[in-house]
Every structure is written in structure tokens, then in C-alpha cells.
């Protein structure tokens, strides 16, 4: 909300208040001044002068040498290129030491050998436009049409300086989206009297109801509609003071009638509209929902096809305006308009918002209605507009207006207790302070002992209950009165993370200590991601956003892999040559589409690693180490698998004891890598963390150690290259040797001492008994049994 202080000063006298004090005061009571804009702060020593003589420059075709009378600055010689100035004109001249609006300083100098003691100025140099002074909008030197005294500062003559506050108004205070609204706050804050704008006007004896009929067919969407007839309209430019104020608000001046509607919108906060009476067929205004397919062309010459959600202001036959949004082209004010009907209405804010969004048509009025306009402001707005019409001589106002109002204009009454307010605040605000503050804010306030009755001003629709009053009181009393207490009257509770939350943090810590870096990636991914990873989406029930930021961010992910791999790729492209990264986040799994209930959000862990020291086994080791460190109480089984995005001979899944897949891991397939544009091996894993975390409950019971010595036997085995370690371990286990304490693979060899189709694997077997020292024969016997089992799968002693 822009607030020129010169305008604010009309309603509350702030001439004795510094800009800083005002800004700080507004800030402390809830209105942050986001920017203090000083208009034409620089302009100085641009003064009026009269051109006495104008002659051609002796050395330059396009330059002239003028002698001017600049009053107390004396007779000055000015060299100029201005063609439009003539002898006898009064023009602005920036004299030696002057500053222009853009900060440029003007000094005496020579132009083509002729001395010049200043520079003639146009509107731009002075920092003004047509709204300030006729002729200031052009790009040539401004010629005054007033007979100004010479040598006078232009900044004072045209009153060009001002300070504008850009104030941030919170959504609960639409009543402060106007100069008057801010003035009310400032008046309460500084305890200065509020001066209401002039609402009085002379009327003629024509009645609005004799000229026009108004009917509101949908009082829900239009709770109040006021219409007033005005005749003898003389369309002309509005006065400069009004144009200037509108200019400071960022609004272009159009003509006196339109400018008055805009002026009232900014001053009072009431959007207004003016219809050309001639164009209202049948002398009727009907406020109704549009018929489906009905059309309107708005003032900006855009055509809209409407439906019954849109409220329109119609005459007997057709829509004349999109209610609250924009008037129709046909009924707009024209240069020859002689009679008008003013509209000041209240429209339901969400309807305006929806329609404005749907039609993609916005205006200052719709923006204002979207924030909320209370019903009582309509009447003030109408009176103010009529007052301006009459007092500026724009037209003749009828002696009555039509007011179709369906809402109560009764003020809300809040009956409460001072003690309740003080208890909520936690401090004792003195009774007289409460009364002063509420009265200053236009509440009618009665205090009787502990009882407090507050009658709420109509424009304060946000105030409903005692906490609202508490807020009014404390924001004016000052939040610095609030002291710090630490739950002094509360029960003690036990805080912290629960078991699962602790475990998740443990998981992150484990990964971190093993060189993994945590990343956070977006929860939405692209259909392209699924295509790149060759993941069939047919049965995935992908959850799509209705309004994504783009197609690439449109799907709630069902897998973390594409996003985490993308993070790795970004790093590879940035020449971060080595990396271990992980993310623990949700995937979003829907039973069916469209969603009727909330989908499952399943916590998932994704790990990606790359670089010269990484391979399948560093990844496998990290996963198993992690699961073990979290005290997973079940067994996991690793098994070969096929995944479309994984290297087919370097990938695996982990199955839980029920045979459910709980993780996959492997090298990313070269085909996928190529699609992603990377040429380095990536090792990836995605773990169904949720499936594991319910079993992080392995108990620890200490085993006693055997008193007897252990016996170790090393077996160098030779087997087919395809034979796996897993198969050999299974074979060894199948011998069911109770006293076999451990089996450890310590060497794998292929090479010249062995057939090319074979490999050698060396295991260390450790035997131990809790009951006795094992005899050599016994151990030999164990080894024989084991070798028999190995023999059965084609594994022999080397």
C-alpha cells in the first residue's frame, strides 16, 4: 500500500512528526514500511526565469544564446538547443550548483566557446509529469503558462517533493488498504485527531429512483449495492492536485469522472464504477449471475464469454460490467457523457478472486475486493465521490441514491473480562491504558470492574473475540511490555525423539561416518525420469500435480533413484570426481487414482557412489554395515535379479525372511548411463527403509568363549569360474558341522597356474568346541565331510 505523506496529512496532522518516528511507530503496531520513497528529493536551485533575448549561437547551427532574467539570480546568459522557447517565455532554469531530479549537478560552463550560466529544464529534469503541470509531460523545455515571479524555486511553486511510504498490510486488515485506513491507525498510534474527508455536497431535486431501477438478484455475491444518478456532467481533466496524488499512487489520470472513482478507491478504499447513463438500456441495473455463454467486452477491449459463476452488472438486456472487476466498453465514460450512474457496491471477495483468476482479468478494483471490502465503506465511498463531483463542479448530484443492502450494519459487541485478556498476554495492562487504546481505535469501550464491553467499528471485520482485543491492546501498548517466562504454570513433559526417529538419525550418522554425504532433492520428478530408467509406469499409479511448476516437476516420486542419480550426475559434470551420496526421504504410493484418500508416504533410502575406489562390493559392504549397525534382527538374503536400469550381471536384490524385496543394488546399466550422458560407473542402491525399520530390535546376549584351543584349517579349492562364494558357503553349511566356528574367504585366484575355465578360492575354517580339545582325527573327519559336500557341486581341493 503506497501512502504519500502529504495525502495522509489531510486526515491526521503529522506535520510535526518525523518520517523515522512515523515509520517506527507503524512498524511497532503491525504495519511494516517496506520502503520510504522520497520523491524529487534531489531537485534544487531550478528557478523561474524570463527569456529576454534569444539569438543564434555564432558557432553552432542548433544552439541558441539566451539572456534571461532570473530574479534574484540576476540576468544570466544561457546556451540552449531548445527550439520551443521564445522571448518573453517564463521557463525553469537550473542555475550554477543546481541538482536535477536524477541527481545531476549543473555548473557554469562553455558551449562551443560561449559561456552558459545554467540550463533550461523540461519536466523530466524537474522530476514531474503532465499530472503536475500542463506541458511537463513533453520532452522539450517546460514553458510556464502562469505568470510566476522570477527567481522562485520551481520545487516550491509546483510542490513537487513528497515522501511515499510503501506499507505492508497484513491480510486481516483490508480496512487499511486506503489512505483513510492508515490515517485511522496513525491517529490511534500518535493519539492525534482524525479528520474525515468532506462527505457533504449540494444536490438537485432529481431522485435517483426516478431515473433508474436497481435490483440485486444474488444478494450472497452482492450484499450491498448503492447507485446514484448524476447529471450535467462536464467531462474534463481533473484538477492537478488530484492528478498528482493519483500519479503518486501509480495511476494514470484519465478524466474527472474516472479520476474521482480511482481517487475514492485509494482514499476511502471503496472501489467505484461510473456508467454512462445513456447506455443503460431500459434505465435498469440488474445485478445477477451471467447466463452461460453470455458475452461482454470490457473497457480494455477484451471479450469474455461468461458462465453462471460470474456476477455481472446488467441493464435491461445485457451485461454492462464484470462485477467488481471491470466495466464494459459500451457503458464506459466518454468525452460526451452527460449523465452517469455511480456504483459503490460490496461483492463477495472469493467470488471476485475466482472470477478474476479464471478470466485472467484484474484491476485495482478486483484487487481491492479480493482483500475484502466491508459493507459500510460502500456508503462512505459513495458520499465521498458525490461530494467530489459536486464540489469540483463536475456535475449535479441527485438528491437521493438507491441503497440495496442485505447485511446488518449493527456493530458487533464483545463482552469479556480484562482478566482474560491479561491472562492471555501474561501481563497486567492498566485499565485506563486498555480503555484509551480501544477508544483510540474507534471501539466504544466500557469497563466496569473486570467486565469489558467493546463495540467494534464496522470496518473491523477481523475482530471477533477477546484474543483479537488482546492483540489490539498489546500492539498499541507495545510488545516490549511482554516479558519472558518459561512455561511457568505448565506441566512437565518428557521430550525428544521416539525410537524410530532415533534410528533414522543413527542411520544418517552411520552413512556419514562411512563417507556418505546427505543430499535433499525435490519430491517431484519428470515422466522423462521413468523413461530414462526404463521403469514401466503402467501399474505405478503415479500421483500427478494439477498445477506443477513444469512437466519435469509434475509427478510425486515413487522412487528416489532418478533424483539422487541426477544429483550424482550434476556432480560428475562439475568435475567432483569422487562421491558418495544418500538421501532418506518419502516416496508416494497410491492404491488407486484419482486419489480419494491420502497415499502412503514410505520412507526410503537411496545411496549412489562413484569414483575410482568404488565398486559393487564397497556398496554392498556399506549396506550390510548399515543394516547391521541398526540392529536389524532378521536375516537378509542376497539374490541375483534383473532391473531395467541395472547392469544385468552386476546387480542384486535383498530379500527379507518372507521373501519380499527390501532393497536392490548394483551398477547402473551402461544403457541408462548413456541416456543420462555419463560415462562413469555409478553404483546405486535403493532400500525400502520402512520395511527394515520395524525390525531394528536385535537383542544382544553375550556368548561365553570356549576354554579349549581352536583348530584352523586352510582349504585351497578349485572350481568353475561361475561357482559363487555363496554356493560354496551353502555347501559347507550343508555339512552341518556343529563345531565349525567360522569360515573366512581369504583369496581368490585365476591365472597361469590354473585352467582358464577355473578359479581357486581359499578358505580358512576355524573349529572349536565348548566341551573339549578337538582331536586331529575329529577335525580331519569334519574336513572330509565338508569336502564331500563341496565335491557334490564340483568343487575340489586344489
Amino acid at each position: 500500500m503506497r501512502v504519500p505523506l502529504s495525502w495522509l496529512n489531510e486526515y491526521v496532522d503529522i506535520s510535526a512528526v518525523s518520517v523515522e518516528k512515523l515509520r517506527d511507530g507503524l512498524f511497532s503496531c503491525g504495519f511494516e514500511v517496506e520502503e520510504v520513497i522520497e520523491i524529487n528529493k534531489n531537485v534544487n536551485k531550478i528557478v523561474t526565469c524570463k527569456i529576454l533575448q534569444k539569438a543564434q549561437h555564432p558557432a553552432a547551427d542548433k544552439l541558441f544564446v539566451c539572456q534571461v532574467d532570473a530574479g534574484s539570480y540576476g540576468i544570466l546568459q544561457i546556451v540552449t538547443n531548445a527550439k520551443n522557447v521564445q522571448e518573453g517565455d517564463i521557463v525553469p532554469v537550473a542555475v550554477n550548483g543546481a541538482t536535477l531530479a536524477d541527481g545531476t549537478t549543473i555548473k557554469n560552463g562553455k558551449l562551443r566557446g560561449i559561456e552558459s550560466f545554467g540550463m533550461f529544464c523540461g519536466g523530466e529534469e524537474i522530476g514531474i509529469t503532465e499530472e503536475y503541470y500542463d506541458g511537463a509531460g513533453g520532452d522539450s523545455v517546460l514553458i510556464f503558462h502562469d505568470d510566476f515571479e522570477l527567481g522562485q524555486e520551481v520545487k516550491d511553486l509546483l510542490d513537487i517533493k513528497d515522501t511515499v511510504f510503501d506499507i505492508s498490510v497484513t491480510a486481516n486488515r483490508p480496512d487499511c488498504q486506503s489512505i483513510l485506513g492508515i490515517a485511522r491507525e496513525v491517529s490511534a498510534l500518535l493519539q492525534l485527531p482524525l479528520k474525515m474527508p468532506n462527505l457533504d455536497y449540494q444536490t438537485c431535486d432529481v431522485k435517483t429512483e426516478d431515473k433508474i431501477q436497481i435490483s440485486v438478484l444474488d444478494t450472497e455475491l452482492c450484499p450491498r449495492y448503492i447507485g446514484a444518478y448524476v447529471k450535467d456532467i462536464k467531462i474534463a481533466p481533473s484538477p492537478k492536485w488530484m492528478q498528482k496524488r493519483l500519479y503518486l499512487m501509480g495511476i494514470r489520470a484519465i478524466n474527472n469522472v474516472v479520476d474521482i472513482t480511482n481517487y475514492v478507491l485509494n482514499e476511502i478504499g471503496q472501489p467505484m464504477h461510473a456508467f454512462d447513463y445513456r447506455e443503460l438500456t431500459g434505465g435498469e441495473i440488474v445485478v445477477r449471475r451471467a447466463n452461460d455463454g453470455e458475452k461482454i467486452v470490457t473497457l480494455d477491449e477484451k471479450e469474455f464469454t461468461l458462465d453462471s459463476d460470474v456476477l455481472v452488472i446488467c441493464d435491461k438486456d445485457k451485461p454492462s460490467a464484470l462485477a467488481g472487476i471491470m466495466g464494459g466498453l459500451g457503458s464506459g465514460i466518454k468525452d460526451d457523457t452527460k449523465e452517469i450512474v455511480f456504483e459503490a457496491a460490496t461483492f463477495k471477495r472469493d467470488n471476485i478472486r475466482k472470477n478474476s483468476k479464471k478470466l485472467n482479468q484484474r484491476s485495482d478494483s478486483s484487487a481491492r475486493f479480493e482483500k475484502g471490502v466491508d459493507a459500510c465503506t460502500a456508503e462512505i465511498g459513495m458520499k465521498r465521490a458525490l461530494s467530489l463531483i459536486a464540489n469540483l463542479g463536475v456535475g449535479t448530484v441527485s438528491c437521493s441514491y438507491i441503497d440495496k443492502n442485505s447485511v446488518s450494519l449493527e456493530r458487533k459487541v464483545i463482552n469479556t473480562n480484562l482478566s482474560k485478556i491479561n491472562k492471555l498476554l501474561g501481563i497486567q495492562v492498566p485499565c485506563d491504558v486498555v480503555k484509551n487504546i480501544l477508544t483510540g481505535l474507534n471501539f466504544e469501550c466500557t469497563i466496569d470492574g473486570d467486565n469489558l464491553t467493546a463495540v467494534v467499528p464496522l470496518y473491523r471485520e477481523d475482530v471477533e473475540d477477546y484474543p483479537d482485543l488482546a492483540e489490539e491492546i498489546i500492539r498499541m501498548y507495545g510488545y516490549d511490555h511482554i516479558t519472558s517466562t518459561l512455561l511457568k504454570d505448565s506441566e512437565i513433559t518428557h521430550g525428544g525423539r521416539n525410537f524410530q526417529q532415533v534410528k533414522e538419525q543413527n542411520a544418517k550418522d552411520y552413512l556419514r561416518y562411512n563417507g556418505f554425504n546427505e543430499v535433499i532433492t525435490y519430491s517431484f520428478i519428470s515422466p522423462k525420469d521413468y523413461a530414462n530408467f526404463d521403469i514401466d509406469t503402467e501399474n505405478l499409479n503415479l500421483i500427478k500435480l494439477k498445477n506443477p511448476l513444469g512437466e519435469d516437476l509434475s509427478i510425486m516420486r515413487t522412487t528416489l533413484l532418478p533424483s539422487v542419480v541426477a544429483a550424482a550426475c550434476r556432480n560428475i559434470n562439475k568435475k567432483n570426481l569422487q562421491g558418495r551420496i544418500f538421501e532418506i526421504a518419502k516416496v508416494y504410493l497410491a492404491d488407486k487414482l484419482p486419489l480419494e484418500q491420502l497415499p502412503e508416504e514410505r520412507t526410503t533410502l537411496c545411496m549412489v557412489m562413484y569414483g575410482e575406489n568404488e565398486d559393487f562390493f564397497t556398496l554392498k559392504g556399506a549396506i550390510e554395515g548399515l543394516v547391521n549397525s541398526l540392529f536389524y534382527s532378521k536375516k537378509l538374503k542376497i539374490q541375483k535379479t534383473i532391473k531395467p536400469f541395472l547392469h544385468p550381471t552386476r546387480c542384486a536384490v535383498y530379500l527379507d525372511e518372507e521373501g519380499n524385496e527390501v532393497a536392490y543394488l548394483g551398477q547402473l546399466s551402461p544403457v541408462t548411463c548413456e541416456k543420462l550422458g555419463i560415462d562413469k560407473p555409478l553404483y546405486v542402491a535403493e532400500i525400502d527403509y520402512k520395511a527394515l525399520c520395524d525390525h531394528f530390535d536385535r537383542a544382544i546376549y553375550i556368548k561365553t568363549f570356549s576354554k579349549f584351543p581352536t583348530v584352523e584349517r586352510d582349504l585351497a579349492l578349485v572350481c568353475d569360474k561361475q561357482t559363487t562364494n555363496g554356493e560354496i558357503l551353502d555347501a559347507i553349511a550343508s555339512a552341518k558341522i556343529k563345531n565349525l566356528a567360522s569360515v573366512e574367504l581369504f583369496d581368490v585366484y585365476t591365472g597361469e597356474h590354473i585352467l582358464s575355465t577355473k578359479k581357486s578360492m581359499a578358505y580358512r575354517l576355524t573349529f572349536s568346541s565348548n566341551e573339549k580339545t578337538l582331536e586331529v582325527e575329529e577335525v580331519d573327519n569334519y574336513v572330509r565331510k565338508i569336502l564331500n559336500k563341496l565335491d557334490a557341486i564340483g568343487v575340489k581341493l586344489r
Binding site: 511497532s28 491480510a171 475484502g372 498476554l425 501481563i427 518459561l486 551420496i581 508416504e601
Partner: protein
């Protein structure tokens, strides 16, 4: 004889003086005290002596042997020190070479800030509740006193999945879940991902918040201030001051913004605080009576306060992170700095 003995002693002493390794020392020992050594050689001359002279010689030789042993032992101690010194010198290292350690990974700055806050709040008796990210219009808005026509909906550009299912725009629905399932006293913090359709240097479509909620009898704005002051001191240092100023959230009344005095300049005014001496860190307020009612809690018996902290904001302030997009770019050169 005595002369001979003193000569031997003299020779031993000379040799020992030059002996600087244990090997030379051991050779000297063999040369003089060994089976074929000089001292043993003296005893061999005993045969030529008269029997009554023999004990004297024996005594003299034994004394000599003891003296030599003592001399060698003394020297040995010195030589051992030399040897150790030489060993130390050959084993000398350059202590400024880099240490060997496992490459340490990092936690994301958002996790660091979140953990920091969880630790601080845990100590005050807050439990952690993590609610869903996909919410209904009812829990994300309506129950929080944001009806459909409410302008506050414009403040939050919402991602929708269906007309009534959406991505939560704040962690505040956590309040609703907790209040509808738990009896007061309640002290809970709800950390998590939140979503708004915004994307620029200061807004990310995904960001993180921690919602805090306390519901009990007799709570006041002073308790809110005290709690937040405690937490903010934990995060930004014990010297900071806090300031409340009026604000607006539909689910709290009164609502406040909470500022901390600038921890960079101590409140004098600097670039970080844009010269104001204060930094806006979070929004808070007393739980709106309508919200309590909506969640089945009697607002005439219980009061509550709530606050929402933006984790990116805290992390940006704390770690001097200039652009919110850095959190989600996952550049290891960024990520690896958080050790």
C-alpha cells in the same frame, strides 16, 4: 702383576671410550672376559705361581673382572642411549604430512539445523511428530481457520493433486493431527518438507519448517516469548535479544513475528540485518480459539501457542548461504563444507 692389571684396565677403558655400538661392546666383552679373553688368559698364568700366591692372583683377577664388567655395563647404558637416539633419527617423520583418516561424509545443513532445534526443544519437553506431506484441504487450511474464501490462501501458492488433496504448504497441519489425537498437555515439534509453487533466489518450491505447538492450561504470550528466546539463544548464541512485533496468521491470535538482534553486528546494523540491527526469524502466536475448537479442545480451559520456523532461513543465516537453491543443487563442494 699389578702393572699388567692396570694396563689391561687402561686398555679396556680406552676401547670402551671408542665403543659406540652394542656390537663393539659385545666384542670387547668377548675379547677381555670371554673364554679365550685377556682376563681368562691371566688365570692361565696361575700354574706358574707358587700356591700361596695363587689366591692373591685369583682375587686380583676377580676384582679386575668385576671392574671390567662394571665398566662395560656403564658404557652399555650410554651406548643404548646412543642407539635409541640413532633409531629415533632414522625413524623421524614429517609431522606436517596429512593425517590418514576415513573420508568423513556430511549431513545436509537442513538436517543439521533440524537436529539442533530438536535437541533444544527436546530439553524443554517437546516430542517430535512427523506428519504426512500430502494433506487434505481440511487439515492444511480449514481446521487451521483458513476457510475457502480466505485471502491467506493467496499468501500460499498451493500445489494441488485433486480439489481436496494437496501438498502441505506449511507444517501447521501437524498441529491438527496432534491436537485431534492427543490430550493436553501437548508439547510437540513437527519438522518436515513443505511445498509452495514459488521458485526464485529466496523461494524454493520445496522447503522445510519446524512447527511448534504447546497446549496447556495457563499459557500466555510471555511463555511464548520465553520459549522462543531459549531456543533462539541455543541457535544464535546466548547474547542475542528477541523482539516480538505484530503480524497476522489465521491460526493464531494474537500473532507475532519474532526478530532476533543481529548476531553478526550485535545490533549495531550491518549488511546481514540490512542496517536495522534485527533479523526476522520466525512467526508465532497464541493458538486461535477456533483452531482449538476445531480440534476438539475447549478453548475456555486450554490455551496454546504455536510457531513456525523456516529451516532454510535459519541455515542461510547461520552458514551465510546466499541462495536457497544451493540447498537442493547437492553440489558436493557445497555439501562437503558441513563437517
Amino acid at each position: 702383576m699389578s702393572k699388567k692389571i692396570s694396563e689391561i684396565l687402561q686398555e679396556v677403558q680406552e676401547k670402551l671410550t671408542c665403543a659406540d655400538t652394542l656390537k663393539i661392546l659385545s666384542d670387547i666383552k668377548v675379547d677381555f672376559l670371554g673364554r679365550n679373553g685377556v682376563v681368562t688368559g691371566l688365570l692361565k698364568g696361575m700354574r706358574d705361581l707358587a700356591p700361596e700366591e695363587r689366591p692373591l692372583l685369583g682375587q686380583q683377577v676377580n676384582t679386575l673382572r668385576a671392574q671390567i664388567e662394571q665398566l662395560i655395563a656403564n658404557r652399555e647404558e650410554v651406548v643404548k642411549k646412543y642407539e635409541l637416539q640413532r633409531k629415533y633419527e632414522t625413524e623421524a617423520i614429517d609431522i606436517t604430512l596429512p593425517g590418514k583418516q576415513n573420508e568423513l561424509g556430511t549431513l545436509h545443513p537442513i538436517t543439521l539445523v533440524k537436529n539442533d532445534l530438536i535437541d533444544a526443544f527436546s530439553g524443554l519437553g517437546f516430542v517430535v511428530y512427523e506428519g504426512p506431506e500430502i494433506e487434505t484441504d481440511k487439515t492444511n487450511f480449514q481446521m487451521l481457520n483458513i476457510p475457502e474464501d480466505h485471502p491467506a490462501r493467496d499468501m500460499q501458492d498451493t500445489f494441488y493433486i485433486t480439489d481436496s488433496i494437496l501438498l502441505r504448504t506449511h507444517t501447521s497441519p501437524g498441529q491438527v493431527h496432534v491436537m485431534t489425537t492427543t490430550k493436553p498437555p501437548i508439547k510437540v515439534m513437527c519438522p518436515g518438507r513443505t511445498y509452495r509453487s514459488d521458485d526464485d533466489a529466496t523461494h524454493s518450491p520445496i522447503f522445510h519448517q519446524i512447527e511448534g505447538l504447546v497446549v496447556d492450561k495457563n499459557l500466555s504470550l510471555c511463555d511464548l516469548k520465553g520459549t522462543l528466546e531459549e531456543i533462539l539463544k541455543h541457535i544464535f548464541g546466548k547474547d542475542i535479544k528477541t523482539r516480538l512485533r505484530p503480524s497476522y496468521f489465521p491460526f493464531t491470535e494474537p500473532s507475532v513475528e519474532v526478530d532476533v538482534s543481529c548476531f553478526e553486528c550485535g545490533g549495531k546494523g550491518c549488511k546481514l540485518c540490512k542496517g536495522t540491527g534485527w533479523i526476522e526469524v520466525l512467526g508465532a502466536g497464541m493458538v486461535n480459539r477456533n483452531v482449538l475448537k476445531n480440534c476438539g479442545i475447549d478453548p475456555d480451559v486450554y490455551t496454546g501457542y504455536a510457531f513456525g520456523i523456516g529451516l532454510e532461513r535459519i541455515a542461510m543465516l547461520k552458514y551465510h548461504i546466499p541462495d536457497i537453491r544451493m540447498f537442493f543443487d547437492d553440489d558436493l563442494r557445497f555439501v562437503k563444507q558441513f563437517k
